[in-house]
């Protein structure tokens, strides 16, 4: 099916054949189509890595900045023009490793952005080292005796931080991933979607069939607004639950708390300096 976010001429894509990223980008494009998001009102933001190239392949505005720094960038873009839909796409290394401090800060700030993390439990672009989500015992050319660090659990951290929207998806199921992404984008506040996907070149352990047999979907009776249930689900590591794990709509968004938007919704670029007021305040305060 064609999307308004397709290019006239298909781009030269840098992903390996069979990469889970192809499925994720399909889910993203069709989610954006389903939500009728206009091409000139969305910004894709990313860092560095194979997943971080996604914006290059979506025909929309994008800010493809530095490794690990996609969240500060996305936060500032949304804050400077809240009318834009801001979607961050980057990998587990970029988001949870290099950008770990920014991940924590994003959970606390609660900007109204959607953070899609392509989580394949390995570093792809640098050719197969451990990532923060690599499982214990995973051997790589650097972790030669196997990873012995505790794997980072982004879902549990997000729920513990009382995040606004926390979900987990699996790229192998494009339709369900698309529906989760749609919920994340329409949710007001910071939305994390940790998207499990196989790396066909560098992760022979956590492959397609591993994900199939080590995940399950939460059933319809599950109530994502129940935080203690969500905490329980978020620490299940044997079989990983998929779906919307936690939602919390009680907190104001980052933008709502900012000085300019307490007065009106105008983005920064439409605001003008009140030179007369500046003169008056200088005279009053400094004379």
């Amino acid at each position: 099916m064609s999307s308004v976010f397709d290019f006239e001429r298909p781009p030269d894509m840098a992903w390996c054949p069979g990469c889970g990223n192809y499925d994720i980008i399909k889910a993203v494009r069709s989610a954006l189509d389903d939500l009728n998001i206009s091409r000139d009102r969305i910004v894709m933001v990313s860092g560095i890595g194979q997943a971080a190239k996604t914006p290059q392949y979506v025909n929309a505005s994008f800010f493809n900045g530095l490794h690990g720094r996609s969240l500060p960038a996305a936060t500032a873009i949304k804050a400077s023009n809240p009318g834009l839909t801001v979607v961050v796409e980057s990998g587990d290394g970029c988001t949870y490793g290099e950008g770990g401090n920014h991940f924590l800060a994003a959970l606390r700030r609660n900007p109204d952005i959607t953070n899609l993390v392509h989580d394949n439990m390995v570093y792809g672009l640098t050719k197969g080292q451990a990532s923060p989500t690599s499982r214990k015992g995973f051997k790589t050319p650097v972790q030669i005796t196997g990873v012995f660090l505790e794997p980072f659990n982004p879902v549990a951290v997000a729920v513990a931080m009382n995040a606004s929207f926390v979900a987990r998806a699996f790229s192998g199921d494009i339709e369900k991933t698309k529906e989760i992404i749609k919920k994340a984008i329409t949710h007001r506040g910071y939305s994390l979607v940790d998207i499990l996907h196989p790396c066909v070149s560098f992760n022979r352990v956590n492959n397609f069939s591993w994900y199939k047999s080590n995940t399950y979907y939460l059933d319809d009776a599950y109530d994502p607004s129940n935080r203690s249930e969500a905490l329980k689900k978020s620490v299940e590591m044997e079989k990983l639950p998929l779906g919307v794990i936690y939602t919390n709509s009680n907190n104001k968004t980052f933008e709502e708390n900012l000085a300019p938007y307490k007065k009106n919704d105008a983005p920064l670029y439409l605001r003008k300096l009140d030179a007369g007021k500046l003169m008056r305040i200088i005279e009053a305060n400094l004379k």
């Binding site: 781009p11 091409r39 000139d40 009102r41 969305i42 910004v43 933001v45 560095i48 190239k53 914006p55 290059q56 025909n59 929309a60 505005s61 994008f62 800010f63 493809n64 900045g65 530095l66 720094r69 500060p72 960038a73 996305a74 936060t75 500032a76 873009i77 949304k78 804050a79 400077s80 023009n81 009318g83 834009l84 401090n101 920014h102 924590l104 800060a105 900012l258 000085a259 300019p260 307490k262 007065k263 983005p267 920064l268 670029y269 439409l270 605001r271 003008k272 300096l273 009140d274 030179a275 007021k277 500046l278 003169m279 305040i281 200088i282 005279e283 400094l286 004379k287």
Partner: protein
Amino acid sequence: MKNIKTDLSIVLSGEAGQGIQTLDRLLMKMFKFSGRHVFSFSEFMSRIRGGNNSTEIRVSSKRADSFLDRIDVFVPFGHGAMARFHERITGDTVIIGDPAFIDDRYRGGGYTVVEIPLSEIAKEIGGKTFLNLVVMGLFAGLFGINEEGVQGQIRAQFSRVAADVIEKNIEALRKGIEAGREIARSGNIKNLPEASPDAMKELLINGAETITLGGIAGGCNFVSSYPMSPSTDVLVNFAKYSEDFDIIVEQAEDEISAVNMAIASWYAGGRAMVTTSGGGFALMTEGLSLAGAIESPLVIHVGQRPGPATGMPTRTEQGDLLFAIYAGHGEFPRIIYAPGNYSQGFDLTRKAFHMADKYQVPVILLTDQYFLDSYGTVPGMEIDNSMSENIITETYSGYRRYQVTESGVSPRGIPGYGNGIVCLDSDEHDEGGYITEDFAVRVVQVNKRMRKLQSMGPDSIPPDLYGPDDFLCLIVSWGSTLNGILEAIKASGRSDIALLHYSQVYPLHGDTEKYLKKARFTAIVENNYTSQFGSLIRMHTGFEFDRKILKYNGMPFSVEELAEEFKKFA
């Protein structure tokens, strides 16, 4: 016996937490209201309580705004408040203070000591919190400043304080005034600086405020920063004005986040700035390089302090010039300003926003602790909308962010304004912003970016020449040393010396060589060890200075030490 006439230097010294800063502000306001020119420099230890902090206040009938060694009046605020100042306390210094705080060595003759039981007076009124008001009154009485006016200032300043506390403050003030009048009658200090009507109309400001207000005048509406001395006041001031001028002010989780936020805000239509010091700027350098790659406007304020590493957090230095010039990997154009006085602090910060936007380059403002924490007066400020307007273009279908142009500057679109898309990538990119590994495209984009160095030429700020056009000796300096050097040239009595001062330090202005070749003797003055600006000049012109006057102990140059150096010029 002290005969002051035009210029009085007062030093207040005490522990951190005693409110010396508050007293400094009260006195500055009082003296300005009374028609005197004022300047103050605070030096303090990196601690919240204890230690020894001081402030030097200069009260004068003509503008005098630089750091002096000379102390005319010294007021100690505690035990041990005099120890660090022994070399600067002379027979000409009048020591005024509580007997308990005056060291014994000053009592044996040769010094003028005026003992006033300040602590006792304060205690009688209600406690040591009233000490500052007693001292304020003391100077009001000494100078014969209108009592009602000073009371009015106190009532306005403490308007939110309970009525009985205000009355106690007024009482403290009155007791101080009595003591001050007594000193005036005693004849220990004679001929104090007279009032001049122009001083009253001036604005009282410190360096940090000039950066904030200049930023607002440049249309700044987004500030993301992490606190770091001595730049934190700029962040605090922006927060103070955020509601009045619709400014987003965010304390970032670290400097890396701060700079990436600022760049992304420009991308989405904001006018953003970060404020930091050397260590924080070090963390920002990858972001600086990103701004270079994606041709983003960016304003970075770096308030210098002595390094390396944590160095001396509350002291001053000009040690980060070459770092600012070369920070960030890869090659890209940038502009660096270094204000020499308060007017330049305001004007250059305002201009920084316009230049960053006009040429889509990072602009760095280099100040230092001496500049930021000093207070002084300026006649007024130029404010209009000429430097605050966005230089952006409405995008259209087929818009390309990195369209190759003759000037190297591509029309800057932002997402959401127009129906085109705005794509940018930290990887080398083609005109559309898409990743490329095509060598020819790489060369075209590098050339386009670097062409801006030439395009920026006409906007380059030339160095200012102070002094005679037919100078024999030429001093070169940059940034905060401006006022001190000018006063020292006067004090040296040499009429053959001129100063060439740079407020734009990079790119180095093309007139540099012309001035240097004209001089019989050249000297450079810098607050660092290696003469970094001298190195830059040598690199661009091959010119070597006859004399390098360098200071790197953490304090600014004093007028006296510079004047001594200038007298020796061949």
